[in-house]
Symmetry: C2
Subunit: 206 residues, 2 copies
């Protein structure tokens, strides 16, 4: 739980873990894909992984968390990118490019990611849980927006930017997951460009 992907072996003390978060996720995701999320109980997952029900909850705080995987790490990377962006670059450009950058995945991860996103978008329990996760995402973006617009992250301006940006990202993800859009990053690009232009309609004259 502490080892967040660091390559450091870190002197191993105490009883070794019998499995990994990734293993639990793989097994669970497979069950979800085959028999449905709601139709899969935590007990089943635990048995399939070869651990006890109680231990499952040591690997993941909740059942929905399994589908979200290593969201926290990605969120941290987004925060870093936003912080590193040069002040000269326009806010919406920074946002667009940063979100795109944090969502470049290798070909090997895409299939699993698609399964995750389809679940997140279609199972009510997961749709619900997603809101809590997205809230964290919004906080990161709102902090950045506040640093550009001035004011507190809780103010209307930064909040609107953050939640609208979240909307664009969600739309891109949902479209990519459902239809077989080739490129997730391209969809993100398109959504954020629409957002930055205010969805301007082709008007005859202004």
């Amino acid at each position: 739980m502490t080892n967040t992907g660091g390559a450091v072996p870190e002197v191993t003390r105490g009883r070794p873990a019998s499995t990994t978060r990734q293993d639990v996720a793989r097994v669970a995701l497979d069950l979800f894909a085959r028999q449905g999320y709601d139709e899969t109980t935590v007990d089943e997952i635990a048995v399939a992984v070869g651990i006890s029900r109680r231990t499952f909850f040591r690997y993941y705080e909740s059942k929905p968390d399994v589908v979200w995987g290593e969201f926290d790490a990605e969120l941290g990377r987004l925060r870093d990118r936003l912080a590193e962006a040069p002040d000269g670059e326009p806010m919406m450009d920074v946002l667009r490019r940063s979100v795109m950058a944090t969502n470049r995945f290798g070909a090997g991860e895409l299939d699993e990611l698609r399964i995750r996103m389809v679940l997140i978008g279609s199972v009510p329990t997961l749709v619900a849980h997603s809101a809590v996760r997205y809230e964290e995402w919004c906080e990161v973006v709102a902090a950045f927006a506040a640093s550009r617009l001035g004011g507190a992250p809780d103010d209307l301006g930064p909040q609107t930017v953050a939640r609208a940006a979240l909307g664009a990202a969600m739309a891109a993800f949902a479209c990519w997951a459902r239809h077989g859009s080739d490129d997730l990053v391209e969809d993100v690009d398109r959504a954020f460009r629409l957002l930055a232009t205010g969805f301007a309609e082709k008007r005859p004259a202004t």
Copy 2:
């Protein structure tokens, strides 16, 4: 459960209902405000209302639903307004005005509404549940956006409009509920205007 506010008496047959949705909501909201949402069990609510736990779930499908109240009816009104809008009016203007119009509340309702919104925005269980409700909202707006932009409601364009609009509305509501902004409608107005301009920054020259 069938009577959605219709003023029609409708010949009363069978055992009369012992209370109303509104009554249940009033009592529950009062408990939530005084001792917290998570600290209030459905059993407590049921006892306070004077019905059984089982009956509570006949009035509301779930505990979070109590906080949402008559959301369905409001959603229907938004749908109607969007449909009635003249084709000449720009999409984002229609959206802004329609959302503003569906959120004009009488002074008497505002206090309760604020309690509801603060709960929805701050209690994780409710934040989660809210996503399911907002999904319905998005569907309505996406259908409207698709009618303006062309394509299917599931396409990237309409989806981005819908989810970004939701973001603006959520930001306005959150700010109004937390800080003591005087006017909810005014906040909605500001958020949607920001959205429609693409959050353009004051740039020196283009």
